[in-house]
């Protein structure tokens, strides 16, 4: 397999990990997070500094990055998750901008706007695939569990969810925490794959890309998010010539999806034995009908 192709798969896997968290938070719990890049940045910088300054082994710096990001999302979620969605969306957006500013101004530690070059590249293809699969499976089973159903209840109607005894704040906090952990993991993997990080990598554009993946694939489907993460990472590589128009198209697609098909590509369809069997049975019965005619 060529390194170029491998690179695309690695990037798709990293994006997938970040998108899964966002899918849980925005798609299943209904809290619109517009600052995923900020969490990626925290994960990337913390794990990089662990590797470069403290000479920690890769897995330890990765998990430290995850922990740090998770902690920050708890701290940020405490004041903002209690309020209505708008506050939360802007708070996350403001947070991600603030993180970028902090990184740019902490010259001595983070290298400022110039970034940190020469990070040892430890992220390998098998590792990314393994992490992505673990994350996908975990999220997939989390959303069908009792807790996942509670999250969906919070999304559908917070007041009603509260009235049947669901601690809505707690579930939003858990989703936010998981999202932060996954974003931190993705950030760490990204830093140790590219070998170079700088604040401009974690701008609003990155947040936009990730949230578009969630919306495009279907907000209520882990399978959809997975599919969208892979397709939308590979697509720009194919369409290199139209790179400038990519974000224009992203914006238009988001509006189009919301207006025409708000449930996204797959809606709430999930990949499972039952759904596959249903699909198979319905298509075979359709075939039989066609033959009869």
């Amino acid at each position: 397999m060529s390194t170029y192709f491998q690179g695309i798969i690695i990037l798709a896997g990293i994006n997938l990990i970040a998108v899964l968290g966002l899918s849980l938070l925005t798609g299943f719990t209904g809290s619109f997070c517009f600052g995923q890049a900020g969490f990626l940045a925290v994960g990337a910088y913390v794990s990089t500094l662990m590797t470069m300054k403290l000479n920690m082994p890769f897995l330890i710096s990765l998990s430290t990055g995850m922990m740090a990001t998770g902690l920050i999302s708890i701290l940020l979620g405490y004041p903002t998750l209690k309020l209505k969605g708008d506050y939360f969306a802007i708070a996350t957006l403001g947070f991600s901008e603030a993180i970028r500013l902090v990184i740019e101004n902490l010259d001595k530690v983070t290298g400022g706007a110039r970034g940190i070059p020469g990070i040892p590249t430890r992220t390998t293809l098998p590792l990314v695939i393994l992490m992505a699969i673990i994350a996908t499976v975990c999220i997939r089973f989390y959303v069908v569990s009792r807790h996942g159903r509670n999250c969906i209840a919070v999304r559908e109607d917070e007041t009603a969810a509260q009235s049947i005894g669901i601690n809505t704040f707690r579930y939003k906090q858990i989703s936010f925490f998981i999202n932060g952990m996954l974003a931190g993991l993705a950030g760490g993997l990204l830093a140790h794959y590219v070998g170079f990080i700088q604040p401009s990598m974690f701008s609003i554009i990155k947040s936009t890309e990730l949230i578009v993946m969630v919306i495009f694939g279907g907000m209520h489907s882990v399978t959809g998010a997975t599919l969208a993460a892979v397709v939308l990472t590979a697509l720009p590589e194919v369409l290199r010539t139209a790179a400038a128009w990519r974000l224009v198209a992203y914006g238009a697609v988001v509006v189009f999806i919301m207006v025409v098909r708000p449930e996204g590509l797959l809606g709430s369809w999930e990949l499972s034995w039952t759904s596959l069997r249903v699909l198979w049975l319905s298509s075979s019965s359709r075939l039989r009908l066609l033959r009869k005619r």
């Binding site: 914006g251 207006v259 708000p262």
Partner: protein
């Protein structure tokens, strides 16, 4: 130095006020944050810029064109993006996502078509400041302040003294009951978006004159949002007070602490207000009922 900072703060606060008012207006009727407000501001700034430079119109005509043009653009955006969602009674999350989509689209469309460079307005007013004792007041700052006050006065007059304004206020209490009273919701929403767009257009042009015009100036929405939250989301006087407060805080932080930390401070101010007084300075805390 101290009074000088306050004057600078009022000048930038005036621009924030113009965006925040439109923001709060939309919020009060549709109860969602129109993230695309910043991009509408950007469109206003470009309309003003091109009427001044390409068509060589005088300033007074340019600002009128920018105001009305931006208002119309805002109505069109509402018809394309939000109206289908309104008719379907979609959850608020979808409105926010659409707003974000519109914002990404407009911003990048401007980058691709107009170009990512910063553009400077031609001088519309003499740059020489006049002084009162030790304090220098830029003619431009004064112009911005006067135009802001005029726009806000017209807006207040419209909302509190006309029939349409009464309808808007009724709709902000309860859209459904208002429509039972013979108020056409579509028309009210269009008027609201026109007003929000028009004030953003004025604000965009003033911002462009004071600083520059560039495609991603829509990021100012964050400032407008902070101002609106500080003042109380949905309250127009609150938005104005919050905007001036934010403008003055920012110039003080930039002047006495560090200009790099300015945005961090305004963000912290918002978080602080959310924690201490979630309804904002002028807002009312409404409990959600089933």
């Amino acid at each position: 130095m101290f009074i000088q900072q306050i004057i600078n703060g009022i000048s930038i606060g005036a621009v924030y006020a113009l965006i925040a008012v439109g923001y709060s207006l939309v919020y009060s009727v549709l109860s969602f944050s129109n993230f695309a407000q910043g991009e509408i501001l950007m469109i206003g700034a470009y309309i003003g810029f091109f009427t001044l430079t390409l068509l060589r119109m005088p300033f007074s005509i340019a600002i009128t064109v920018a105001t009305i043009g931006t208002g119309i653009v805002a109505i069109l955006l509402e018809k394309i993006g939000y109206r289908p969602l309104r008719l379907r009674l979609s959850p608020l999350l979808y409105f926010m996502i659409t707003a974000m989509g519109l914002s990404i689209f407009l911003q990048n469309f401007a980058i691709v078509t107009i170009g990512p460079n910063f553009r400077t307005y031609p001088d519309v007013i003499a740059t020489k400041p006049f002084s009162i004792g030790e304090v220098y007041i830029g003619r431009l700052d004064l112009l911005i302040f006067v135009i802001t006050i005029i726009s806000l006065t017209i807006l207040t007059w419209f909302i509190y003294r006309t029939k349409e304004g009464t309808a808007i206020r009724a709709a902000s209490y309860n859209m459904r009951v208002a429509s039972l009273m013979g108020i056409n919701p579509d028309r009210i929403v269009s008027i609201v978006f026109f007003l929000a767009g028009a004030t953003a257009g004025v604000g965009g042009m003033l911002f462009g004159i004071k600083y520059t015009v560039y495609p991603w100036m829509g990021i100012l929405t964050i400032k407008a949002f902070i101002a609106a939250v500080v003042g109380g989301l949905g309250s127009l006087p609150g938005a104005v007070i919050g905007a001036f407060l934010l403008g003055i805080t920012e110039t003080f932080v930039a002047g006495y602490v560090s200009s790099a930390l300015r945005d961090l401070f305004s963000f912290a101010l918002m978080i602080l207000i959310i924690i201490i007084r979630p309804g904002g300075l002028m807002g009312v805390i409404t409990q959600e009922k089933a």
